[in-house]
Amino acid sequence: MKKRLIAMGLTAIMAMSLLVGCGSGGSNNTSSETPAKDETKKSGYRVAYIARAQSDSFAAWLANEIMAEAGEYDDITLDVFDGQADDEKENTAIENAISSKYDAIIVQPNNGEAQRPYVEKVVQNGIIAITTNARIDGIEGASSVDADPYKQAAVNATLALEQIPENARVVVLNGPSGNFHADERRKAWQAEFFDKRPDVKIVAEDFANWNKDEAMALMEDWVIAHGEIDAIISMNDNMAAGALEVVAGKPGYEDIFVYGVDGTAEALLLIQEGKMTATCLQSAIDLSELILDTAHRLLTGEEKQIDTDIAAPLITKDNVDEYIKIYKERGLITE
């Protein structure tokens, strides 16, 4: 009987902890209601950041940078909530933030259309709403801060126009199907490169869902199936790095062109080593600075509504060193 009670109790505690973990999300503060370390700040504005997921490395980086940037503002207290890559959970988190009467709610959507009605609710409740990465277009009264995924791919595509040899055979790695950033980047490659270079042949194309290991497995099979491959065109750096892992330094692939997006630390190092050709920086640092700046302007009433973008700089061997320097200063690259 005793053992049964203990077992039931333990199961109940585990189940509760699962629910609590799912419900309020993984805030990096000790409690989501009353963050202890922020009590020392002057009573100012309470801001909620609803992250799409803290388990994909870009989203995690952005969340980390937003928290760091918020620390620079004396009058802003920031709480982070994790949508765990699940529309239900993210929508619930938005509703909870509305009930908790935050002054501003920043939403990084998992799926724009799924979060749309909830961001509209934020506005209806008189709370400042900002959507980011990727923005949700056309919500009355909401603001947005984003990077333009079309531009991010286009800068690579324009470079590729002159770099990729005639009659080249290329492979394409796509992000998750239906993902706005993935789709826009692919659109850019189509319009800015493939449509302009009909001589280039796509020998293989598939979804690697932003993941390094998936891209690796695909590239291993493609190398067998197609032999000569002149370029890897990837919608993000993780996948590019994964495919590169298979062929870097191997005979016949020394001159392979590799393009990605994001400007991750890994990509910058690969570009510096001459293995990767180019990427476009999607700086979570710049994004977080712009987000907090936008939030502050809206909170203080300086502006009523803002839509703004960060830049989409191309990074190649020529300028990679200065970006690596920035990463080293931020501790994102060691040694």
Partner: protein
């Protein structure tokens, strides 16, 4: 009639290998590159991690349990191992750390299941979320880069044979020996078949369950090292869902969810069937969505074929016994 009996016995014992041979033949016809040394080496290398996890799932399922935390624990063990190597430069130390971390997580699983009688599904599900959270917390969600010599585990080779394949081969032999020729192996089948009877016959069920989880921990730890070194990064969100792949390979290979049934070679065959399927579809450029449908269909077919070929034996035995009974009655009368 005796001949029919023999044939059905072969079918029942080797049915999954027949499926595997069938698959290999079809694949080699679909693409001339399939049976090349390069490609088969690739497939084996890609399968190493999944098959090692499948062995862990297999021994757990045979003894009536399972492990939903394999993918997450793999990630946790892997990132801590990578981190340790970067801090100390010791490959052996990093290898052992991975095993240590995975064994600790699995011991916690064992305590929940054995001492507190939590259902394995729930206990390992809890560990799945805890281990993943721990991995993400430790790395702040970022990938660990610049692994240096750590990649030798997953990308090196000995005498031309890739190291993951060597790991897989050695582990296959060990697990095979464990299940077939040790008392521990036999007790796994006993416990899975009928736990009360095993207790009654003097098997220390609790101790056996602990040992099984420790073995699973060792397997998951090794898989973690191989995975991270293959992708050349410490990925805290890597190997998501790998426990399902391990379970699938074990089930396709003939391991029964009701416990007490399963073989090492069967699991290996199951893993290769699924792996060849993925490989041939990539080689021939099958659309990604179609791949998912085909994969699910073939897994279902393989399992149904396997179950049917086993149940045929049972029905034939009943027929034969009935007939023998009748003859006996006639003689007596």
């Amino acid at each position: 009639m005796v001949e029919k009996f023999k044939k059905s016995k072969i079918m029942e014992k080797y049915s999954i290998f027949i499926v595997l041979i069938f698959m290999v033949v079809i694949c080699s016809l679909l693409d001339k590159n399939f049976l090349t040394k390069n490609n088969l080496t690739n497939v084996a290398r890609q399968l190493a991690v999944g098959t090692i996890l499948a062995y862990g799932e297999m021994i757990l399922i045979i003894s009536g349990m399972l492990d939903l935390s394999a993918g997450s624990v793999l990630a946790l063990a892997g990132v801590l191992s990578v981190s340790f190597y970067k801090a100390t430069g010791s490959l052996i130390g990093a290898f052992l750390i991975a095993i240590l971390v995975a064994v600790i997580c699995n011991l916690i699983n064992a305590v929940m299941i054995t001492n507190f009688k939590a259902p394995p599904f729930i206990a390992t599900l809890a560990m799945m979320t805890v281990a993943r959270g721990a991995a993400l917390l430790y790395t702040k969600g970022q990938n660990i880069l610049q692994l240096g010599k750590y990649v030798v585990f997953g990308q090196g080779d000995i005498l031309g044979i890739p190291t993951p394949i060597i790991f897989l081969a050695v582990i296959t032999v060990i697990i095979y020996y464990l299940l077939r020729h040790t008392a521990l192996g036999r007790s796994l089948y006993a416990i899975g078949g009928n736990e009360e009877a095993s207790i009654a016959s003097g098997i220390n069920v609790k101790l056996v369950k602990y040992k099984v989880f420790i073995i699973n921990g060792i397997l998951v730890g090794i898989a973690g090292v191989l995975f991270m070194s293959r992708v050349n990064a410490g990925l805290p969100n890597g190997a998501v869902g790998y426990e399902m792949e391990g379970l699938t390979a074990a089930i396709v290979g003939g391991t029964s969810f009701s416990g007490g049934i399963g073989t090492t070679m069967g699991t290996l065959a199951g893993s290769f069937i699924i792996g060849s399927l993925n490989n041939i579809m990539n080689l021939t450029g099958v659309d990604s969505y179609v791949q998912q449908i085909v994969k699910g269909a073939i897994i279902a077919l393989a399992v149904i074929w396997d179950i049917r070929s086993k149940s045929k034996k049972t029905s034939k035995v009943i027929l034969v016994e009935e007939k023998q009974d009748k003859q006996l009655n006639l003689n007596l009368n």
